[in-house]
């Protein structure tokens, strides 16, 4: 089975959209890690980014706006043998799903969380997103965005997320390598991918991202304080793996005490149930 089989052929993204590059990086990462597509589930929310699983031949759960993370957590817990990827845009993951973002990091399920961060709402035609820059004008934010942007990297590190990275899709190869690291990492892995929205965001273009980002070099990702310092830089946005904490147990390990048997194989212990009912005699 191949990753480009069994998918929807009619791709709904605009020509030039960063989503295409993310799709390439994602599929290449899976291929290079030699992952069986039948072991991969992509869970998404709603929005243009959330259409990703439509165009990759793996298991797909295209759910509700903002709700990919609880679903992904549950899937991973119900069957820890699956590679679970939760993928959606910045509005979905950080806006509508902000509460789940925080609590998923706290739970630390072994999932990869890919966020297409284009700093705008595309599918609803160009309103501000939580990561839009201050002053960004839209049909709704007519005087320009008045709020400070949400900083997912800093929030994730503050919550001691076990893997935090940022990439820019202008560099597909780099993004692919980071995605591979995220997939190999045990625990919750955030990959915030900066991508232009060629239709609705005329501010954060490919060029803008090139000029306003730089690659982290000689960075020790196990140093949380350092990671946080890099995370709050806004002059130029660092790209790379900010932070890794390998010493965290995953949600599925903790909630199932290490049992990896898929829950579809579960059998009720009726003997124990009988004992439990009997215990209600006194």
């Amino acid at each position: 089975m191949r990753l480009d089989e069994y998918i929807s052929k009619d791709i709904a993204w605009c020509p030039g959209c960063g989503n295409f590059g993310i799709r390439t990086a994602l599929m290449k990462a899976l291929e290079e890690l030699n992952v069986d597509p039948r072991k991969v589930v992509i869970v998404s929310g709603i929005g243009q980014a959330a259409k990703m699983p439509q165009y990759v031949g793996v298991h797909m759960f295209n759910g509700l706006h903002g709700r990919a993370l609880p679903v992904a957590t549950a899937i991973k817990t119900a069957n820890p043998n699956l590679l679970v990827i939760a993928e959606s845009g910045d509005g979905c993951m950080y806006g509508e799903g902000g509460n789940h973002f925080i609590h998923t990091i706290r739970r630390n399920p072994d999932i990869v969380n890919i966020v297409h961060d284009n700093q705008v709402y595309g599918l609803t035609k160009g309103q501000a997103s939580p990561t839009s820059l201050k002053g960004f004008r839209t049909p709704v934010q007519v005087d320009g965005v008045i709020l400070e942007p949400f900083n997912p990297i800093a929030v994730a590190i503050a919550l001691d997320a076990s893997f935090v990275a940022r990439t820019f899709i202008g560099d597909v190869e780099f993004t692919k390598e980071i995605l591979k690291e995220a997939m190999k990492h045990k625990g919750y892995a955030l990959v915030d991918i900066l991508q232009p929205c060629v239709t609705f965001n005329k501010l954060n273009t490919y060029e803008w991202y090139r000029e306003n980002t730089y690659y982290l070099k000689d960075h020790d990702p196990t140093d949380r304080e350092l990671a946080f310092k890099r995370a709050i830089e806004t002059e130029k946005l660092p790209l790379g793996i900010f932070y890794i904490n390998k010493n965290k147990e995953t949600f599925e390990e903790l909630s199932r005490k290490g049992d990896k048997t898929p829950l579809y194989e579960y059998k009720v212990n009726f003997e124990k149930l009988k004992e439990l009912i009997e215990s209600k005699k006194s």
Binding site: Y6, P70, V71, A78, N99, H100, H103, L263, Y264, I277
Partner: protein
């Protein structure tokens, strides 16, 4: 008197629940039938809470207004009970708490006795002992139960509490002849179990193969979450307290997708937040089991009281049109069997299945012989997928074979957008129509598994009472011995079995009895059958109907 109704009244935090727990078990293990129900305030300390315990020679399962013995455990504890206290009520307790109520009074200085034994905190054990003595419970049952209750606190605490209880017992016995209660014992009752509705739902879930629970705590549904958490390690159940109800419901939908059997337990306000993901379950044709323990609304309402006003919520929740099943257990046995069944039905038909209980049912308990586990089966309907597996294959009964990721060669692709047979997003109008039709056809198919309503009482009825859910037992007791009256009780309220029409048409008069202000179920019956039930006995104060109240109102409408 063969049936004694005891009411304990006091502040939250005073240990009424401990007294209820220990005393009911002592009485049951002494060979008495017991029933207990409580009503309490939404606060951690103070206020005024009451517990009613009925002790009887025969099975007893309903709430009565009558108070034979009142035990006020604090100042002002009789205040809210004034209407229910009569000349016949025996009021037992501290002189200062008994107050100026009418009724026969017995001053028992629980605190003083406790202090003499060693510590005022043993006062509740003195009360337990006193009531046990008054009713003629077994000494051995008291010792056993008190030991069980205080075991973890050490030998001394156990010993002192037993001494306190025995001192109370001695005093209770002194009065017993004078009072003359005559509840007969049946030793075989000792072998029965004592359960509340929440435990029955929890046990039913386990028996139904539930292995994934995520919820956000909300009265009165939390006790099911607590019960399953308590036993999760014995049964390998994943239990997660989610950040909110939105997450909880999405989690169980995700869990079912991956092959688990998920449950949420919530109340109306919590379920309001779950509606979004209920709609998701409808669209992606995911099974889901929802325990919704009703309490009065709207909004926060009366957080700890009872009502049957969320039928419409369960019935219409979620945008769009999709099938669902709603069970409304009438008693503890039904709570167990219907919850068990809910998981099989959800799996079979790939629809959300509700268990609609209420505070009265989840918080009430009585003794029962147990459950027949031999006939229970965890029916699994997921298929091993082949390479060319199609998730939403269109077929005659509307039920497409459901695969799970990782089991078989195929890919399982589901989409909250309207989708084609492969699960892919589509905006094709023809496919849209075919998919809606398929989902609704499934709703028709599942009707063959509808539980018929039960007819209870005079088969040659003139007056037919129509009720659903937890009013079952109070109505049953209210119409005992009445001729010309029968109860048609629904433990499945959606879909409604077609047989309802013939029952309704046979009656001269049909009366709906519901714990809500508008008669939601009666309205639903009219919508489905065209039969208009004009006469309605409705209660929405936050309390369950009492047997006396029902008897009076039923006689009035006859």
């Amino acid at each position: 008197m063969k049936d004694v109704s005891i009411v304990l009244s006091g502040e939250a935090g005073q240990g009424i629940q401990t007294v209820e727990h220990v005393l009911t078990r002592i009485l049951k293990n002494s060979g008495f039938h017991v029933f207990a129900t409580k009503e309490y305030m939404s606060r951690v300390r103070g206020g005024n809470n009451t517990t009613e315990i009925r002790v009887s020679s025969e099975r007893v399962r309903a709430f009565v207004d009558r108070i034979d013995i009142l035990v006020p455990l604090g100042k002002g504890a009789t205040e809210r009970l004034k209407k229910r206290i009569t000349e016949k009520t025996l009021i037992v307790g501290e002189g200062e708490f008994i107050g100026e109520e009418k009724g026969e009074k017995i001053v028992v200085p629980f605190l003083e006795i406790a202090k003499q034994v060693g510590n005022r905190i043993y006062a509740n054990s003195v009360a337990i002992g006193f009531l046990s003595g008054l009713l003629g419970a077994e000494r051995s049952a008291i010792e056993e139960q008190i030991t069980r209750q205080f075991r973890e606190k050490g030998e001394n605490v156990v010993r002192d509490n037993i001494r306190a209880a025995m001192e109370g017992y001695r005093r209770g016995q002194e009065f017993s002849e004078k009072v003359g209660f005559d509840v007969e014992k049946d030793p075989s009752i000792k072998d029965e179990v004592l359960l509340n509705g929440a435990e029955a739902v929890g046990l039913g879930a386990i028996a139904g193969g539930c292995n994934f629970v995520s919820s956000y705590p909300m009265s009165p549904s939390t006790s099911v979450l607590v019960f399953l958490a308590l036993h999760k390690n014995d049964f390998g159940i994943v239990v997660e307290q989610a950040e909110d109800e939105i997450s909880a419901m999405n989690m169980i939908v995700g869990a079912w997708y991956a092959g688990a059997r998920g449950l949420v337990t919530t109340s109306g306000g919590g379920f309001a937040l779950m509606e979004e993901a209920l709609s998701l379950a409808g669209m992606i044709e995911s099974p889901a089991v929802i325990h919704l323990a009703q309490r009065p609304g709207p909004a926060t309402g009366l957080p700890t009281r009872t009502e049957q006003a969320d039928l419409n919520l369960a019935l219409y929740a979620g945008h769009g049109e999709f099938p669902r099943v709603i069970y409304a257990p009438g008693n503890i046995e039904e709570a167990f069997y219907l919850t068990q069944r809910a998981f099989n039905m959800a799996d079979r038909y790939q629809v959300p299945v509700f268990i609609l209980t209420d505070q009265y049912l989840v918080d009430s308990f009585y003794n029962l012989p147990g459950f027949n586990l031999n006939e229970l089966k965890v029916e699994k309907y997921t298929v091993k997928t082949s390479k060319d597996y199609i998730r939403y294959a269109i077929n005659e009964d509307g039920i497409s074979p459901r695969g799970v990721p990782g089991y078989g060669e195929g890919l399982v692709r589901v989409d909250s957008d309207e989708h084609d047979e492969f699960g892919h997003i589509t905006e094709d109008f023809d496919i849209r129509v075919r998919m809606v039709d398929k989902r609704l056809r499934k709703g028709e198919t599942l009707k063959k598994d509808t539980i018929k309503p039960k007819l209870i009482g005079d088969e040659n009825y003139r007056v037919l009472l129509v009720a659903w859910g937890s009013t079952l037992e109070p109505i049953k007791e209210a119409i005992e011995g009445m001729s010309g009256v029968a109860l048609l009780h629904f433990s499945q309220v959606w879909p409604i079995d077609d047989s309802v029409v013939e029952h309704l048409e046979r009656a001269e008069k049909v009366v709906a009895i519901e714990g809500n202000a508008t008669g939601q179920f009666a309205n639903l019956i009219r919508q489905v059958t065209g039969f208009h039930i004009k006469d309605r006995i409705l209660k929405y104060s936050g309390l369950q109907f009492s047997v006396e109240e029902l008897k009076k109102k039923i006689l009035e409408v006859m």
